[in-house]
C-alpha cells in the first residue's frame, strides 16, 4: 500500500546575505581559501575521517570539488569558481578569494546593491580595457621564439603548489619536462586549423621526482612482457608496422546479451563459438600482415597465444583514456566489432620497443610524426603525486592558453596592487557624465571603487602567511613583502629587495607605503607606471587568459550574490 503525504510548502528566505549563518560560512570559506593561496600557502588534509585516503592539497580544484556546502549562496559561489577552473585550470583560488572579498566589502557599504552592481560593472570594464590595452603596465608579451618566459609561466604554477614537495632542482627539472611535453604536442606543420596533440601522464609513484621523463609516442603497461627478450615485429614492405586498434572487448564474452535470455542446448558452447570467431579475426589479422594488435579491453588468452605464435604482438588493457591519442597517433580507426574487419581501419607505426620504469614494463609505440607524447611522472608518495599531477595538468593548460593569447600577467600580487592603483587613479579623474550614465553620485562611485580596490589588494595580502608587512610602491604600484619581525620604519628600502613578481629591485626610491587593510583611507595617486625593463629571468608570471576570466567571474558572481533577494527551498 502506498502512503501519501501532504506536500510541505517551500521555505522562503529573504535577503539571505543579511543572515548571520551565511556571513559566517562565507568568511570561513574565505579564510580556508586565503590560507591556501600562494607558494607559502597552508595545506589542507581532505579525508573522510574513518581511515580513507588522505588528500593533502592547497589547490582550489581539489578542495572545491570535495567541499559539500549546505547553503545555496556558497553553492552559487563554488559552482561558478569550479566552472572557471574547468575552463582555465589556473587562478581558481584568485577567483574565489576575490569573490568573497568583493561580497564582504560591497556588503559593508551603505549603498544600494543595484547601484553597487552598476558601478562595479563599470569598474570591471575599466580594468578589462586597461588589461587589453598596449599601455597596460602589468602584462608582458610572451615571446615563443625563446623559452625563458614560458619557463617562468610553468615554474610559477609549480612553485605555487607547496604540497608537491619539490625542491629547486626538481622544480627546474619538471619545468623543462612540462615545456618539452607541450612542445611535442604542437604540430610541426601548422595549417590554418591546427589542433594541439596530447600529452598522456603515466603514473610512476614511489620514485624520485628527478626520475620523471618525457617520451614521444605512447606507453602501454604490459606486465607479462619480459625485458630480456628482444622484440621482433613484423613490418610491411615500407618498413612500417601495421597496427589494428580494437575498442571492443576480445575476452570472448561478447555473446553476453544486455537484456533477454538466450537458451542453448547443453552441447553447444557459446564460449567456444565466440572463441572461434575471435580466432578467425586473428587469422585475418595475420593474413593482413598486421604487426601489432592493441585492445582497449582484454584479449582472450587463446587468441593472444595464436597471435604470438604467428609473430603478432598483442597488447591488451590499454584503457579508454589511451584510445583517442592512440587512434590519432597511428591513424588507425578503433574497431568496435569482431565480426566486421575492414583493412581500412589499420594504422601504422614507425617503431616499437620495450621500456621499463620502476619495475613496470611498458610497450613504447613510436610514431613517425609525433604530436602525442607520454609524460612519465614520478613523485615519492601518493598524496604528493596526486598534487603534482594536478599541477602539471594546470601548467600544460596554461601553456595552451598562452599559445592562443601570447600574453602573461605579473604574478606575486603585483597585478592586483597595480590594478588597484590604476583604478584608484582612474576613478578620481572620471567626468561627471560618467556618473550620470551610471546614475550614481561621485561619492558613491568612490566608495564602491575603494571597496573594489581593497578587495583586489586583499588577494595580494593573502599571499603572505606570516605576520610581516606588505607594501606597495607609488611609482609602479607593485607588491612588496617585508619579512616578519621588523618594526615599521621609514626606510623600507633596507628591508625589501625585490617586488612580488621580481621585476623591480629596490634601487630607486619608489615611495613605499603600507598596503592598508580593511579600513585604510583611500590614497590619491598618479597613474602607475610600466616597469622600465620588461625582460628578466625568473619572473613570477600568471596566465593572462585565466586571470582575466577570474576577475570577471569573481565580480559577476559577487554581483549575482549581492542581488539575491530570496532563497526558495523545496522542503519535500
Amino acid at each position: 500500500m502506498s502512503r501519501l503525504e501532504t506536500k510541505k510548502p517551500p521555505l522562503f528566505i529573504t535577503e539571505p546575505l543579511t543572515k548571520d549563518g551565511v556571513s559566517q560560512s562565507l568568511s570561513l570559506l574565505s579564510r580556508i581559501l586565503k590560507s591556501c593561496y600562494g607558494p607559502a600557502g597552508q595545506l589542507k588534509q581532505l579525508h573522510n575521517g574513518v581511515g580513507g585516503c588522505v588528500c593533502t592539497t592547497s589547490q582550489s580544484s581539489a578542495i572545491l570539488s570535495r567541499l559539500p556546502v549546505s547553503h545555496p549562496v556558497l553553492g552559487v559561489l563554488m559552482a561558478s569558481v569550479q566552472n572557471h577552473i574547468s575552463r582555465f585550470s589556473d587562478c581558481g583560488l584568485f577567483t574565489a578569494i576575490l569573490c568573497c572579498s568583493l561580497i564582504e566589502n560591497f556588503k559593508s557599504l551603505n549603498v544600494t546593491s543595484c547601484t553597487v552592481i552598476k558601478i562595479s560593472k563599470h569598474l570591471l570594464s575599466l580594468c578589462m580595457d586597461y588589461l587589453k590595452s598596449e599601455a597596460c603596465g602589468c602584462r608582458v608579451a610572451v615571446d615563443f621564439s625563446s623559452v625563458e618566459t614560458l619557463l617562468c609561466l610553468v615554474r610559477s604554477v609549480l612553485r605555487s603548489k607547496p604540497a608537491c614537495m619539490l625542491n629547486k632542482t626538481e622544480v627546474d627539472h619538471l619545468t623543462t619536462l612540462i615545456l618539452k611535453a607541450f612542445l611535442f604536442t604542437v604540430p610541426c606543420h601548422a595549417e590554418s586549423n591546427a589542433v594541439l596533440g596530447k600529452c598522456v601522464i603515466v603514473p610512476v609513484k614511489g620514485r624520485r621526482v628527478v626520475d620523471s621523463t618525457v617520451l614521444p609516442g605512447l606507453l602501454i603497461e604490459t606486465p607479462e612482457i619480459q625485458l630480456a627478450k628482444p622484440l621482433t615485429v613484423k613490418r610491411t614492405c615500407s618498413n612500417m608496422i601495421k597496427m589494428a586498434l580494437f575498442c571492443v572487448s576480445m575476452s570472448g564474452d561478447s555473446f553476453n546479451p544486455e537484456e533477454g535470455t538466450i537458451t542453448v542446448h547443453h552441447r553447444i558452447s557459446l564460449e567456444m563459438s565466440e572463441l572461434n570467431q575471435l580466432l578467425s579475426v586473428g587469422k585475418q589479422l595475420v593474413n593482413d600482415e598486421v604487426g601489432l594488435v592493441v585492445c582497449q579491453k582484454v584479449i582472450h588468452p587463446s587468441l593472444k597465444r595464436y597471435l604470438k605464435e604467428n609473430g603478432v604482438i598483442a597488447v591488451d588493457r590499454a584503457g579508454l583514456s589511451l584510445m583517442e591519442p592512440l587512434s590519432r597517433m597511428t591513424g588507425s580507426k578503433p574497431i568496435a566489432s569482431i565480426h566486421l574487419l575492414s583493412p581500412s581501419c589499420y594504422g601504422s607505426l614507425k617503431d616499437l620497443c620495450i621500456e621499463s620504469f620502476a619495475s613496470k614494463n611498458f610497450v613504447h609505440l613510436i610514431p613517425d610524426d609525433t604530436v602525442v607524447c607520454s609524460f612519465i611522472l614520478c613523485n615519492r608518495n601518493e598524496t604528493a603525486w596526486d598534487e603534482l599531477k594536478r599541477a602539471c595538468e594546470t601548467a600544460e593548460h596554461v601553456l595552451q592558453l598562452t599559445l592562443k593569447e601570447p600574453l602573461a600577467l605579473l604574478g606575486g600580487g603585483c597585478t592586483e596592487t597595480h590594478l588597484a592603483s590604476y583604478i584608484r587613479h582612474k576613478s578620481c579623474s572620471l567626468s561627471t557624465s560618467t556618473f550620470e550614465d551610471i546614475d550614481c553620485s561621485q561619492t558613491q562611485y568612490q566608495l564602491v571603487a575603494d571597496g573594489f580596490c581593497r578587495s583586489l589588494e586583499s588577494v595580494a595580502r593573502s599571499l603572505n602567511h606570516d605576520d610581516g608587512e606588505i607594501l606597495t610602491d607609488m611609482v609602479y604600484g607593485h607588491c612588496w613583502f617585508v619579512p616578519p619581525g621588523f618594526p615599521p620604519v621609514s626606510s623600507w628600502s633596507d628591508l625589501v629587495s625585490k617586488c612580488g613578481c621580481g621585476i623591480n629591485g629596490n634601487g630607486e626610491n619608489l615611495k613605499w607605503r603600507l598596503l592598508q587593510g580593511q579600513f585604510g583611507s583611500p590614497v590619491i595617486q598618479d597613474c602607475p607606471k610600466e616597469p622600465l625593463v620588461k625582460v628578466a629571468d625568473f619572473l613570477t608570471l600568471d596566465c593572462y587568459a585565466a586571470k582575466c576570466s577570474g576577475l570577471q567571474v569573481a565580480l559577476e558572481t559577487a554581483n549575482l550574490i549581492l542581488d539575491l533577494l530570496y532563497v526558495i527551498k523545496d522542503q519535500n
Binding site: L43, T56, I262, T263, V264, V298, P301, R305, V496
Partner: protein
C-alpha cells in the same frame, strides 16, 4: 553530506605530535642490534614478533590523517627499497619534535620549510664524498679478508658480541621489574630471574632476544605504547628467552654448522675474488644480521658461478624465492637450487614414482578449476542451458576431459599460478600427475625458460609446443640429510637442468618468528641488490650522519654562504629568502638534531655505550676534532676507515673489530631522509583538516566537536 573543518594549529601542531608519538614506538628498531617487539592481538591472544618499521606500522592504529600519511610513506619506502624504513620512521619522529620546538620559538613555517629542505639537499650533496664505488669496496674487502683478524674469524660486527655487557644487563633488569603482567600463554617453563639474566648475557643471546611489547591496534585507550615493555610480563619473558629457538643463533652455534651449510650447496667457490667481494659486501651491508647474510652469501656464490657461463654479474632478485618451513631449527636454513614448496603427503606418493625421471612439465597462468575464466571475462548471466540427459554430471565431464588432455600430452608435472580444483588434484594423483598450486609468475617463467614449456591459461589450449621437458622432482632434504617430517606438509624440490632459480629455505621452530626471518632475509637481499644497482655504497657505522652534523655546524657558522651561493640565479621568492636567513641557525640545528638523535639511539641500542651521555660526548668530541682538522670529510674517512669510530678509546674491544667494514646503501638512505623530511614538512604546512562524509552527528557528539567548524 557535510564538511567539517578543524584548525590543526590551534595550540600546538597536532599532526606533528601524532607523528612523533607514532615514531616513538620504533626507537628500538634502529641500528644493528634491534629489540624486537611483540604484537599481541588481545582478541585472539595470538602474538607475532616484529623487528621492522613496516610491520610495526601495520599493527598500529592509524586512523588519524597524519598516521595515514606516515603509513603511506613507510609503505612506499618498503616497496621501493625494502630497507631504510626504521631510519625513516625514527627521523620522522625526531624531526617532528625538533620542528615543534622551532614553532614554540615562533619561527615562521615558511622559514622552517625552506631552510630544512635546503639544508637536507646541501647535506646530501656533501656526503657524496663518503660514497665508495663497488669496485673499490670489493678490492678493499678482498684484501682485508686475507688478514687473519678479519671477518672470517669474527663473523658479526656488533650484534653477536659474546662479551657480557653491563648495559644490556641493566636494560633487562629494568624490563623485568615492570609489575604489570599480561600473560600470553600459560608458562611451561619456570626459572628464577638470576638464571634468566645469565642466559641473556650469554653468547647465545643474539639480537632477537630483546623483546618489548606493543599493543595492537584494537586497544582504544592508547594506540601506541612506546619504550620498552610497558606491558611486558616477566613471566612471559622468561618463557620466551628460555626457548633456544627464540634467540638468533650466536656465533658459537653457527660456526659449528657452517660446514654443513656450505657443503650442501654447490661446493666451495670462494676462490673467485669477485664472489668473495660480493660475499663480503653482503656481510658489510647486513649490519649484523648474520643468518640472512650467510644465506645470501651462498645465493651470491651460486648466481656468480652461473654468471661465469652467462656473463651477467648482477644479483638477480627475480630468480630468488623463499620457502618457509616451520618446525626445523633455524640452523637448517639454506639455499637450494630450483623451487622448494610444500605439498600434501598424498602428493608426495607420486614423487616417489618420479624419482630420477625427467618429467614433462606444463605451466598454467590461471586457476585450474572448472569455473575459472581469465581476467576481464564477464560471466553470462542470462544464458540458459537445456540439458537432455540430467543424469550426466557436468563436473565429471570437465574432470575427465581435463585429465584426458593431460594424459594425452604425457604431462607429469603441472605448475599452476592460482588454485587447483581438489577433485582434479586427486584424480591426477591417481594417474601419477603432480599438480602444484600457487606458484608465482617468476617461477613459471624460470621453468618456462629451461624446459621450453609455454604458460597457458586453459588446459583446452594445450598443444605439443606448450609442454616442456626435463623437470625433476624430489623430496627436499635438510642439510644433514635428516628426514623432514613437518606433520601435515612435506617440502619438495622441483628443479630442471640449468634452472637459474634458487629457493631460500627459511626454517624456524617458532611460528611467530617466521615472518620476521623472511623479512630480514629479503632486506639483506635488497640491500645487496641496491648496492649493486647504485654501483656505490656509503661508509657506514654513523659516518654519513656524523658528516651531516659537521656540515650543518659549518652552515650555521657561516650562514650567509649558503644564501649567497644560490642567490645568483635563484627564482625570486621575497618573503621566504629574507625570513629564512634570520632563522637559519635555529632551523639548521633542528635538522641536525634528527641525525644526532639517530646516532645516539643507534649507539645505545648497539649496547656498546653505557649511556646516551657517553655517546653524545663521543660524538661532540669527534665533531670538534673533525672541525679542527680542517677537512671533516677527510677526518671521517680516515677514522672510519680504521673501523668503528664512535667507540674508540672507551671501548676495550676495539681491536676485535679492526678490519671489519660496515656499509650502507646510498639511495635507500638518502631517500629515507628525504621521505621523512617531506612527510614532516607536509604535515607541518597543513593548517586544517577537512572531514567530508555523512557523519555530522557523530562528529557533533564526539569529544572533539568543539574543534570543528561546519560549513
Amino acid at each position: 553530506l557535510l564538511m567539517a573543518f578543524r584548525d590543526v594549529n590551534a595550540r600546538r601542531h597536532i599532526g606533528l605530535q601524532q607523528l612523533s608519538s607514532l615514531a616513538l614506538a620504533g626507537r628500538t628498531l634502529l641500528g644493528p642490534v634491534k629489540s624486537c617487539k611483540f604484537i599481541v592481538d588481545e582478541s585472539t591472544n595470538q602474538s607475532t614478533l616484529i623487528c621492522s618499521a613496516v610491520r610495526l606500522i601495520e599493527s598500529l592504529d592509524l586512523t588519524s590523517a597524519a598516521g595515514q600519511l606516515l603509513n603511506e610513506t613507510i609503505q612506499a619506502q618498503n616497496k621501493e627499497f625494502k630497507t631504510g624504513m626504521s631510519t625513516l620512521l625514527f627521523l620522522v619522529g625526531a624531526w617532528s619534535n625538533a620542528i615543534v620546538e622551532c614553532l614554540q620559538q615562533n619561527v615562521p613555517v615558511s622559514a622552517i620549510v625552506s631552510v630544512m629542505s635546503e639544508g637536507l639537499n646541501s647535506c646530501c650533496e656533501r656526503v657524496q664524498c663518503l660514497q665508495i664505488s663497488i669496485h673499490d669496496v670489493n678490492k678493499e674487502l678482498c684484501s682485508s679478508s686475507v688478514r687473519p683478524n678479519a671477518s672470517k674469524s669474527k663473523t658479526c660486527q656488533i650484534g653477536c658480541d659474546s662479551l657480557p655487557n653491563p648495559h644490556l644487563f641493566l636494560y633487562f633488569q629494568k624490563d623485568i621489574s615492570v609489575p604489570e603482567v599480561i600473560p600470553i600463554n600459560s608458562c611451561s617453563h619456570q626459572d628464577d630471574d638470576c638464571n634468566f639474566n645469565k642466559h641473556l648475557v650469554s653468547p647465545l643471546a643474539g639480537f632477537g632476544s630483546v623483546a618489548s611489547i606493543v599493543k595492537p591496534a584494537g586497544d582504544k585507550s592508547t594506540s601506541v605504547i612506546s619504550g620498552n615493555g610497558v606491558a611486558t610480563s616477566s613471566c612471559n619473558k622468561q618463557k620466551l628467552t628460555h626457548s633456544r629457538y627464540f634467540s638468533t643463533p650466536g656465533k658459537g652455534l653457527f660456526s659449528s654448522q657452517q660446514g654443513n651449510f656450505q657443503g650442501y650447496l654447490l661446493g666451495p667457490s670462494a676462490d673467485s675474488c669477485e664472489y668473495c667481494g660480493l660475499g663480503h659486501l653482503a656481510m658489510a651491508l647486513s649490519h649484523g644480521n648474520e643468518p640472512s647474510m650467510k644465506l645470501l652469501q651462498s645465493i651470491v656464490a651460486y648466481q656468480q658461478e652461473r654468471a661465469e657461463h652467462s656473463g651477467s654479474s648482477q644479483l638477480n632478485v627475480a630468480e630468488i624465492v623463499t620457502c618457509c618451513l616451520l618446525g626445523l631449527p633455524e640452523s637448517y636454513s639454506c639455499a637450494s637450487p630450483g623451487f622448494v614448496t610444500l605439498l600434501s603427503p598424498e602428493q608426495v606418493t607420486v614423487i616417489k614414482y618420479f624419482e630420477d625421471k625427467l618429467l614433462r612439465i606444463l605451466l598454467i597462468d590461471g586457476d585450474l578449476t572448472e569455473q575459472y575464466r581469465h581476467l576481464g571475462f564477464n560471466r553470462p548471466c542470462n544464458v540458459r542451458t537445456i540439458v537432455e540427459h540430467p543424469s550426466l554430471q557436468e563436473g565429471d565431464l570437465w574432470l575427465s576431459s581435463m585429465l584426458d588432455n593431460l594424459i594425452n600430452f604425457e604431462v607429469n608435472l603441472v605448475l599452476v599460478k592460482g588454485n587447483v580444483c581438489e577433485n582434479l588434484r586427486e584424480r591426477c594423483i591417481a594417474n601419477s600427475i603432480l599438480l602444484v598450486s600457487s606458484v608465482t609468475w617468476n617461477v613459471l617463467c624460470a621453468f618456462g625458460e629451461v624446459t621450453g614449456a609455454q604458460p597457458v591459461t586453459y588446459l583446452t589450449q594445450l598443444n605439443a609446443s606448450c609442454v616442456g621437458s626435463g623437470a625433476q622432482v624430489e623430496l627436499w632434504k635438510a642439510c644433514d640429510g635428516r628426514a623432514t617430517d613437518l606433520g601435515e606438509l612435506v617440502p619438495v624440490r622441483i628443479k630442471a637442468r640449468g634452472i637459474p632459480l634458487l629457493t631460500a629455505v627459511l626454517t624456524t621452530t617458532v611460528a611467530s618468528k617466521m615472518q620476521l626471518i623472511e623479512d630480514q632475509f629479503w632486506t639483506s637481499v635488497y640491500r645487496l641488490h641496491h648496492a649493486l644497482n647504485d654501483k656505490k655504497v656509503f661508509l657506514g657505522g654513523g659516518a654519513v650522519e656524523l658528516l651531516c652534523l659537521s656540515h650543518i655546524q659549518m652552515l650555521v657558522e657561516q650562514p650567509l654562504q649558503l644564501a649567497s651561493q644560490n642567490a645568483v640565479k635563484e627564482f625570486h621568492n621575497p618573503w621566504l629568502a629574507a625570513s629564512a636567513t634570520e632563522y637559519k641557525s635555529v632551523v639548521l640545528q633542528a635538522l641536525a638534531s634528527g641525525w644526532k638523535q639517530y646516532l645516539l639511539v643507534v649507539m645505545c641500542n648497539s649496547t656498546k655505550a653505557s649511556s646516551e651521555l657517553e655517546v653524545a660526548t663521543s660524538v661532540d668530541h669527534h665533531l670538534r676534532k673533525a672541525a679542527d682538522c680542517g677537512s671533516p670529510s677527510a677526518y671521517i674517512l680516515k677514522e672510519f676507515g680504521r673501523g668503528d669510530l664512535l667507540r674508540d678509546g672507551a671501548d676495550p674491544f676495539a681491536d676485535h673489530r679492526e678490519g671489519l667494514r660496515v656499509y650502507d646503501n646510498v639511495t635507500a638512505k638518502t631517500e629515507a631522509w628525504r621521505r621523512a623530511l617531506d612527510l614532516v614538512l607536509l604535515v607541518l604546512q597543513t593548517d586544517a583538516e577537512i572531514v567530508t562524509g555523512p557523519r555530522k552527528n557523530q562528529l557533533l557528539n564526539s569529544h572533539v566537536s568543539s574543534e570543528f567548524m561546519f560549513l
